[in-house]
Symmetry: C2
Subunit: 482 residues, 2 copies
Amino acid sequence: MTTSLEELTRLTDAAAAAAPIWRASSADDRAAWLTAIADALDAHVDELVEIADRETRLGATRLRGEVGRTTGQLRLFASVVTEGSYLELIVDDAASDATPPRPELRRMLIGVGPVAVFSASNFPFAFSVLGGDTASAFAAGNPVIVKAHSGHPELSRRTAAIAADALAAAGAPDGSIALIEGREAGNALVQHPVIQAAGFTGSVSGGRALFDLATGRPDPIPFYGELGSVNPVVVTPGAAAARVAELATGLVGSFTLGVGQFCTKPGVVFIPADTGFEDVVAASVAAAAGGPLLTDRITSAFPDGIRDLLTDSSVEILAHGAETADGARPVVLTTDAAAVTARAETLLAEVFGPVTLLVRYGDAAELRAALAAVPGSLTATLHSEPGEDVADVVELLQLRAGRVLFAGWPTGVAVTWSQQHGGPWPATTSLHTSVGATAVRRFLRPVVYQDAPEALLPAPLRDASLASLPHRRNGVLQVPSA
Amino acid sequence: MTTSLEELTRLTDAAAAAAPIWRASSADDRAAWLTAIADALDAHVDELVEIADRETRLGATRLRGEVGRTTGQLRLFASVVTEGSYLELIVDDAASDATPPRPELRRMLIGVGPVAVFSASNFPFAFSVLGGDTASAFAAGNPVIVKAHSGHPELSRRTAAIAADALAAAGAPDGSIALIEGREAGNALVQHPVIQAAGFTGSVSGGRALFDLATGRPDPIPFYGELGSVNPVVVTPGAAAARVAELATGLVGSFTLGVGQFCTKPGVVFIPADTGFEDVVAASVAAAAGGPLLTDRITSAFPDGIRDLLTDSSVEILAHGAETADGARPVVLTTDAAAVTARAETLLAEVFGPVTLLVRYGDAAELRAALAAVPGSLTATLHSEPGEDVADVVELLQLRAGRVLFAGWPTGVAVTWSQQHGGPWPATTSLHTSVGATAVRRFLRPVVYQDAPEALLPAPLRDASLASLPHRRNGVLQVPSA
């Protein structure tokens, strides 16, 4: 089922009509709308998980957890709206005695207008119709048109319908959310004059194509894409000596989680040479389970990606996971740091699915050279021991990723005020994050009102509102007492 | 004098070497570096104004004022660095009892790396070598390479040399600032892998070309361009009746200020028909002085732009300013709202220089239709009287501009915490501003540290620093007492 261009026009017209209502909506209304969607998702969890499992084969336990994460995310954004800091209210009082005399200026952020959201295959709830992009666009005061992922069309339709019903019942305007299907409709959406920004989670090739359409418009719009990430992990000699078994178990659990289809999967692991690390990983992976992949395209791309890596003479298969009747079998490959330094583009291409590449390094210089060749990533992880000098490595990791972990594994992404899910290209196209409270900043633009009569100011900028909202006045940050 | 590609490589290498030092610099050091530049500009004001006047013919009074604005801006950014909110410090403590258990996360913004700045012709100080883009890139912790504007090459070289000396004396690293010249070098700069973001002030055509290069890179970078703006002004029937003489005087002063070469020049003014407004403006403009324009290109483009407008049969010349021996003579054109609604692309093209277009409207509906056709602008101004119903007009103006004025004229831009200088395309390419404290946000990217040992955290994220810096912890905004 694909959306016709006539139908798209009907939907963008509706979104354009809804935009001023969303932009002017009160914090209470907007928080209630976000909460209504979360409640409706929770109320339909059994039905939705059944559809999702049939379409994605990710399993009911994982999917039920993902619904919880998604509703938690919607509620976090409701609290972001209520708290009010996201408005970035800044007031400078008039200074008639300044040279030149300074007018009164009151600044806030307002919604950009209708937002296009391109949903992902691998998180049918958390990065899909009601995922982080939609939740943050709503929180910023914008209607949303979602391009469904072809991997879970029925789930997308049902989720959109539940959200539309919940929004209508909570008093949100018609046109608050719409769903489109088909690549052609998606391309038309990101180029449509009504659309003012876009969020995307997916492949480098798909994201790059849409980014080029968005920036190539007569009126370019911001395109917030999360595209691809190899998520480097560094194991120091100290960590390898101190806890090799724990590290091997953790790595195998992380790179096979969700059948290796997380954007934060550790795809390359730098290990000290001649420490026996590979043997322990090989033993650990032997029993690891694979499983069916999300779509036919991903299923066929997985062996192709491994074959491409193996064309490099330095790359060898270290070990496989358990045989699987249906789907992808985990596999661990090895190479060395010199090869990565010389041929990073080939060796560090992201392969979706349960595969990771162990890279042996001889010394710190060899490690640093290889790390400098790692492409931008969502995460970078360091496993070291107290007393080791790792400042240089931390500096390199911080340059290559938006989240730097010092313990654990990158596949878990806590949804909190501080979280950040982004990194240098190709991890993301922009400086902004698609996870965490600050994701709203992507769908807001600043407006400053000069010498406005109070009655013509947006409500949050009036003195009565400032008394209960965080704001800066004449340079001083002020937080109302609770 | 143009910069060779070999020389460019030398400069980008130096910027790359300086970047980690800028990124890790303390707030005190960075503020001192900004202040050192401001002090050096002040110390050389006589020499610099002399060169600037020779190259731009803007006059010593205006140029001396602009130096003051520029040093004030540098000092504002020093205080932004010291205050610390710009770091957006957010900490979520670990929650081992959450499901799933939540790690500790500490987020901050860090400098993106070397920034390219393309300076403007019309503000040889405030939007040039040491203008807002450079000041905010420094404040964010990044070295800068400036592409000089060909309209004031000697001033650019001298300013850059003074800044480089001041930075060196204050202890900033080599490679902190560099200057390049020539279009080819500029194009190479924005595509250079070392450059991580770009700021630009100039024409729509020049900005679009550089934007396309920046977004077309294999690794696209953010391009913050301020391109073009017609800065609509609306006069209501009430305002026209109450204070036509004051409005006419204000308008003429604003559109001829700096010989009409401000990016905030009011280029289109919507006036109620049949109120005699035109006659008063005609009388007011008769004595207005023109003068020489900034460059040969701008000088020849001015009559061409007026001729293009006059090709539309609805457009007439209302009045001229005083004859000038040398340069552009002010001119006021008229048309009607229906023509603007039908042919906005032609009639609302920005013409640099002392010209404005009065647009007669018959009623509110005609005004609204024409306003909906106005392209994105830096500013929009409303002159109304208490008691008039202008909510619809304010809503339209707010959609079309980043600064909405309710009195006065848009050509003055106060540099303050709240100021915002941007708007929908083609006013700017992005949601961010090039003036005001929040300009720093363009040159920063978020990084979150998960479960980091304290010793490996960047200094601002350690508990000892948090005690004296604004930050959010577990969702609660906290401001240290002074």
